[in-house]
């Protein structure tokens, strides 16, 4: 008899019929990243990507989170909004995030693709930063990590 073992399903990478995720995040919404190296960081959501991913940016200058794709299921949307209606994301594509094949490292020299990534990131981030210009409190909010302590009840929290 074959015993079926229970396996924990991973976050789905399957494309839905429309190619878009069930968007529970609106562009401009501040979201909290729930897992990975940037867990707890509050970042600005920029765009819903296909396969349930989300394009986010710290911005890097504020909290150290670069332009990044995160699974939308690993994020909690908050009620805070940043006005990014005028943002230009035409330079951002999947190719931008592709990692280069590992070759011999040249010390002190950045690869061309990384240079390009930094350029795109800084143009996107300056646009977000200009939207945050007169909001020192919002900047501070983005700089603060979200964390639970004993006795906290996420099921009663309003984000």
């Amino acid at each position: 008899m074959k015993i079926q073992r229970f396996t924990v399903p991973r976050p789905t990478h399957k494309a839905s019929s429309t190619g878009e995720c069930k968007a529970h995040v609106r562009p401009g919404q501040v979201v909290i990243i729930l897992s990975g190296g940037f867990a707890g960081k509050r970042v600005v959501a920029l765009k819903n990507l296909p396969r349930g991913f989300l394009l986010v940016s710290g911005p890097y200058k504020i909290n150290g989170v670069p332009l990044r794709r995160v699974p939308a299921s690993r994020v909690i949307p908050t009620s805070t909004l940043v006005d990014i209606s005028k943002i230009d994301l035409s330079q951002v594509s999947d190719a931008l995030f592709k990692k280069e094949k590992k070759g011999r490292k040249v010390i002190g020299k950045r690869s061309a693709s990384f240079e390009n990534f930094c350029k795109v990131q800084s143009t996107v981030d300056t646009q977000i930063l200009s939207a945050l210009k007169d909001q020192p409190l919002l900047k501070k909010y983005l700089d603060t990590k979200f964390s639970l302590v004993d006795g906290d009840k996420p099921h009663e929290m309003k984000f």
Partner: protein
Amino acid sequence: MPARLYVKGTFLGFRRSLYSQRCSTSLIGVEGVKTKSDARFYLGKRVAVVYKKSSKSDQCGMIWGKIVATHGNSGVVRAKFESNLNPRWMGRTVRVMMYPYKA
């Protein structure tokens, strides 16, 4: 400092009847959850148990699972793990993660 993004839970035991138990389903009490409706928030969330691999070393292992159902009326939930939990761990603290988030 890394942010704590999990709620503490307790591994209460296995799902069982009077004389038999089903080790494939574990019962988890989540801190601060006292009712069934509160427990519903945690359905589908991932759970992790951190354990020491041996008494001699500090190497830790992790068993992942997810919350599959509520259990009873007092906020206890059922969880399934990729491998069944060690019965000696009953009463131990587990981590109930806040993801996957469902809108």
